[in-house]
């Protein structure tokens, strides 16, 4: 079911069930986000994607809502860069810069809104975690919920069971890849991957013995969860490609010898 709404004076088409953020981006209208990722459900924690929302039926009343979670509706009128919106974004970025002064993505975004240096008090030992929750949410969606947010309020942090290395982690690095600031660190050398204080053996190619880009735990997890024969996850792309090329080469030889085969 498609209908029309207005964003920054521009008439755009939207579908039932879509959020304002998706429609705005599709129309080429930029809205900053930090805690948003298409792989997981929207969360609404960073508040950067705030927009002014109104409807004719609201008789001039305007509300500020997060675009990532606000459902599109016919006749919605959205403003993405009003003064109030900028006031919220500027303060959010100022606050995040106080929390994580060394995070590049925050520095860049903050300076776009006129904040070169935070006007607030910094932490004693600042790290780069902005508590967007993406790592936790992606681990829940794509892996094993090995990590979680713990504690309340200003003491909130990303934690693991009893603060130790998370027993359920499969070393897939999804958390590190979705983290907007690069706060989650990992190391890889040889056939060992280290993250969250744990060490993982990388899966080895049955044919060449070389380490694959997934861990053994990750392979076992995927085989089960995505219902795949484990043999799909035991050989490298190079080995697979070589073997397939050899097979296709043989077929080509036969074709050269007159037998017609079509390779799609």
């Amino acid at each position: 079911m498609a209908f029309f709404m207005t964003i920054n004076g521009k008439r755009v088409e939207a579908n039932e069930g879509e959020m304002v953020l998706a429609v705005a981006r599709r129309a080429g209208i930029p809205i900053p986000t930090l805690c948003h990722h298409e792989a997981v459900e929207p969360f609404g924690s960073c508040r950067l994607c705030m927009v002014e929302v109104t409807k004719p039926a609201w008789k001039g009343w305007k509300g500020l809502m997060t675009a990532c979670l606000y459902p599109c509706a016919p006749d919605l009128v959205i403003e993405t860069d009003s003064e109030r919106v900028h006031q919220v974004r500027r303060n959010v970025l100022d606050l995040l810069l106080a929390r994580c002064p060394d995070a590049d993505v925050i520095q860049k975004l903050a300076s776009q809104y006129g904040v070169q240096q935070s006007s607030f008090m910094q932490r004693e030992k600042p790290d780069k975690c902005i508590l967007c929750g993406l790592c936790v949410r992606v681990c829940e969606t794509a892996a094993t919920s090995a990590i979680s947010t713990v504690q309340r309020g200003h003491g909130r942090e990303i934690g693991t069971p009893w603060g130790g290395p998370p027993p359920d982690c499969i070393g897939c690095l999804a958390c590190a890849h979705v983290c907007p600031t690069g706060h989650i660190q990992f190391e890889e050398s040889g056939s060992v991957r280290k993250i969250w204080g744990r060490e993982f053996e990388l899966q080895r190619c049955e044919k060449t013995g070389k380490p694959l880009p997934i861990t053994k735990d990750q392979a076992a997890f995927l085989a089960k969860r995505q219902t795949m024969n484990p043999s799909y996850l035991s050989t490298s792309a190079d080995a697979n490609r070589k073997q397939t090329a050899e097979t296709l080469g043989r077929i080509a030889r036969w074709n050269k010898l007159g037998m017609q085969q079509e390779v799609k």
């Binding site: 500020l64 606000y70 109030r84 006031q87 303060n91 959010v92 607030f120 909130r156």
Partner: protein, 629 residues
Amino acid sequence: MDTHLRYDSVEAFRSHVASLFESPEAKKRRVLVCCGTGCMAGGAKQVVEAMHEQLQAIDPAKKAELNLVMKRTGCHGFCEKGPLVVLMPQGLFYKNVKPKDVEAIVQESILGDGVIERLLYVEPSTGKPVHKYGDIEFYAKQTRVAMRNIGLIDPANLDDYLLRGGYAALVKALTTMTPEDVMKEVADSKLRGRGGGGFDAGRKWRSCKSAPGDERFLICNGDEGDPGAFMDRSIMEGDPHGVLEGMILGGFALECKQGYIYVRQEYPLAVENLQRALRDARARGLLGDNILGSGFSFDIEVARGGGAFVCGESSALMRSVEGKVGEPRAKYVHATDKGLWDKPTVLNNVETWVCVPRIIEHGSAWFTAMGTERSKGTKAFALTGRVKNTGLVEVEMGTSLRDIIFGAGGGMLSDGPRGKFKAVQTGGPSGGCLPEDMLDLAVDFDTLTKAGSMMGSGGMIVMDHSTCMVDVARYFLSFLVDESCGKCVPCREGLFQMMHIVSRICEGKGTLEDLDRIEDLATAVELGSLCALGKSGPNPVRSTLRYFRHEYEAHILEKKCPAGVCKALITYGIDHDKCDGCGACLRACASSAISGTIKKGETFQIDLLQCDRCGACETVCKRGAISAS
């Protein structure tokens, strides 16, 4: 109370209630001993034991003649004056009763007609002692609707509730009304939620009923997290069946099968009394399958909180009931469409639910005759702070702040310039402070909001000139920082930074630029926060800045705290004219900041570098020689 009785029909219920009214039980003289949490903390348990012992010791013939029963009641709402003992039917009201007073009470007022003067309440406005419960201004100036039963019944006794007309509203609905009739009556009463949001209950119920879905839930919000608020506690403890009856009527109207009462972790007595009431109601056939043989089935379960203010927020509460972390979520999709377990849900406050049976019983016109144009009925307030009578006050909506504070409240606690009225904080951490020239504002859902505060759930803290308004702002900010769930940036980081700025001002390290920074940040936090905790968090700071800016400026420009509260800005000194060298202060000082030779008053000094401004010396000094400036 008969625990084996069960009503399998409305007729059975009616005939039992009629027999109760005729029974000797209904005609007994009652000795009401308040056993609400406040009085229990004051030693009510021991008073009950002493009373029981004394009553047992009465000669059997005299006992039969007196036809007495002792009732352990719920909270009267006058906790500072507890433990309370009220003798009915005469209404003789005794305050601050100790176990050793009980013998005299029995001898003089129960076996005789005497009155024990020293246990009587003295009316502040007249200076005279008052004998009767109903004559005490604190009670006389109230219109108790939601609190009509508490303090007068034993909450553990269903028959007491029935003798007050309990469950008559339910029977009226089951026999003469349809679910739609009940919906309409509640809508016509214009009942608005009493938990702080003030949303029209009828509209909320209507949205839930029209939402698509096969299953619906209703919830009673008993989280009551506002510091100083205890209306809901007293209602849950003292009149649990009132809450149940309201919810069963709600279930009937909404055609839903299951309700939950979410009680905060810190209210164990409320949980206990609610659980007992649920058991008794189920046993009698007033709750559960096929209520009173009507075919309507509805049950209620108690869910306990884990100790988080944020779980009073409706979406966080629902997550908590579901067993998840109590974090709010965006409310663009309403709970009446997708609430508990994503099913249409109605959530209302304890006080809202307990009004429902009254509305059904007396009709919506009775309710709308009270209150103002847009705020109908009555509201319970927890009046605390620097007033003579602290406690629960229920008055018609539209009563002015002045009438509440100086009427039932009995006026300011202390005399002299420091005891004069300075401000009243309403609405808990979501509300603001209003100064003296706002005292004539009507207390209702809308008037206080325009002035920069709000009625909220009913907390009302009265402040005099011994209160520092900057310190008040700092207190509420630190409360919210502690209770914030931490999910969104504006609340988690913004309120934290605001608290730090205000704390620095309290320490004399603030600048005028700080005030501008606070205003800008406050707007961002209000607009940007995910839930009401964050959105209303800046209210205490904003309202104190609006009405008491001079106090902030004194802290900043003069490095002075006019109220003498902010420790960094006050100094303690010894008046050598008054000091007699007793050395009590020296012994009391934990920082060893006081030195002097015993009996030589002129030698006593406070080392201001060591002194941590705890004020212990001022407290122990019998000569009043030590004061802060």
